[in-house]
């Protein structure tokens, strides 16, 4: 141990032994933080303490010195815990860096292009509860049709990323095919069923807007219902459709329904991170979410989505308990 450290420790402690002042304790404690930064183990601190005390008061009784030797022995395992901690911190930092890379790769690999359909205003937000998002949005753009798949995949991290890639590459293969919602969910279901074991489920809502007929058609694989806001009646209707979670049964059948959107109407597709937002006092009521949506009914789809997120996130004390995703398809007013 450097002589200098013992000398400084001695000086600080000597002052404290004279005055017992708070100032000396403050100085001492700041000094102890530097010990930790310099990887000085707790058993070293006891040893430094013993040397300093001996230099200050060499004539203390033998039991004092022996008891400090005993204390050194008691501290060895604490020192080991501390060194193990430093190694874990480094490990954790490495994992963090890896996660940052992973997030970036995932973003690149799973990127999707927001539709730009005639007469349709699209807004969306997807916020992970932790670093990696387990919700996934995939846009499919075809002539006169803009579709979106909103999925909540099982778990997080690698399993989630792999599920997403399955959805993405599956959807990529659909570019020139029949993209009617029931058909799409049927195809994706078979890919998922083939690739994952029974414990893996994915919920998905698939919505397709036909810009010629202004029709929004949809199908659901065990996903949260969407909400349709009618600008005429200022009321919300739930858009739900029967269908099993993806990956459960090879030959699952998905119902398809549709609704015609009037100017100013919008459809809100969400994951359960939105509908099951929790505060200290329990779940946030669906009616509260509808109120938030209605408040911004005249704004752009993106503004509505952003507003709902910021309000719900505030109500949850900025601690999301689940990944949070909203996609809004709004029929533009001309």
């Amino acid at each position: 141990m450097p002589q200098e450290v013992t000398k400084q420790y001695k000086e600080i402690m000597s002052k404290y032994l004279e005055s017992q002042s708070e100032e000396d304790l403050y100085v001492g404690q700041q000094f102890s933080r530097r010990f930790i930064e310099k990887d000085i183990a707790p058993e070293d601190v006891i040893s430094i303490h013993k040397s300093a005390l001996f230099e200050l008061h060499p004539n203390l009784r033998k039991q004092v010195w022996d008891s400090l030797d005993f204390l050194i022995e008691m501290m060895i395992h604490y020192g080991l815990t501390m060194r193990e901690h430093q190694s874990l911190v480094r490990k954790q930092e490495a994992i963090q860096m890896e996660m940052n890379v992973a997030t970036k790769v995932q973003d690149t690999l799973l990127k999707t292009v927001e539709p730009d359909a005639e007469g349709l205003d699209v807004g969306w937000i997807s916020q992970p509860a932790h670093q990696m998002n387990g919700d996934y949005i995939y846009f499919l753009n075809q002539e006169n049709a803009s579709s979106v798949a909103v999925a909540d995949v099982i778990g997080k991290g690698i399993p989630a990323a792999l599920c997403m890639s399955m959805i993405k590459f599956g959807m990529d293969g659909l570019q020139n095919e029949n993209s009617s919602p029931d058909n799409v969910l049927g195809i994706i279901n078979r890919i998922v069923e083939k690739s994952v074991d029974d414990s893996m489920f994915i919920s998905m809502f698939y919505g397709k807007y036909n810009s010629i007929t202004s029709t929004f058609s949809y199908a659901s694989a065990g996903h949260e219902p969407a909400l349709h806001f009618s600008s005429g009646t200022s009321a919300f209707t739930e858009l739900d459709a029967r269908g099993l979670l993806l990956g459960v049964k090879k030959e699952a059948i998905y119902d398809e329904h549709s609704v015609v959107l009037e100017e100013g109407d919008f459809v809100v597709m969400m994951t359960d991170g939105v509908t099951e937002s929790r505060t200290e006092n329990g779940f946030i009521e669906m009616s509260a979410i509808k109120s938030l949506l209605a408040e911004k009914k005249d704004e752009s789809a993106q503004e509505i989505a952003d507003y709902v997120y910021s309000e719900l996130s505030r109500m949850q004390d900025y601690q999301l308990s689940d990944d949070f995703t909203i996609v809004i398809f709004k029929k533009k007013t001309v």
Binding site: E22, L25, Q29, V89, E93, Y318, Q319
Partner: protein
């Protein structure tokens, strides 16, 4: 019951004054030596954060009692820059990165209850409590 007093934090000396006040109050409440040291350390961290990152602020210390329990409550407040990402600040490991909110998980561990309210540009208030068990 609500006894207590407060210290303005402007210079580094005020950190020591806040510590002294906290230690005295903790002793009055009946905390043992180690818990006195823990409470004092928590105050020290909060006061240093004010001193280093907000420039000035205040530490209030109250003796509290509730449902037959007694304890000590510390309120640290400043009108500094605020904390932009509260989620991050409360994470372990952030301690080492210094800056505003450094050591918050530590303060949380030294005490029993911990709450932080912060608005960017408006300032930060931290309320933390320790009960005598």
């Amino acid at each position: 019951m609500n006894l207590g007093s407060s210290v303005e934090i402007i210079t580094e000396w005020d950190i020591v004054a806040a510590r002294q006040l906290g230690r005295n109050e903790a002793k009055q409440v009946g905390f043992g030596t180690v818990d006195q040291a823990r409470i004092t350390t928590a105050i020290s961290e909060l006061a240093r954060n004010i001193y280093l990152y907000a420039g000035k602020g205040k530490i209030e210390i109250e003796r509290i009692s509730e449902a037959g329990l007694v304890g000590i409550k510390i309120i640290a407040s400043d009108e500094g820059p605020g904390i932009p990402d509260l989620r991050k600040v409360m994470e372990d490991g952030f301690t080492t990165s210094g800056g505003l909110g450094a050591g918050m998980p530590g303060v949380k561990r030294l005490m029993d209850e911990f709450k932080v309210i912060s608005e960017v540009g408006e300032g930060t208030t931290i309320i933390t409590t320790k009960w005598l068990h």
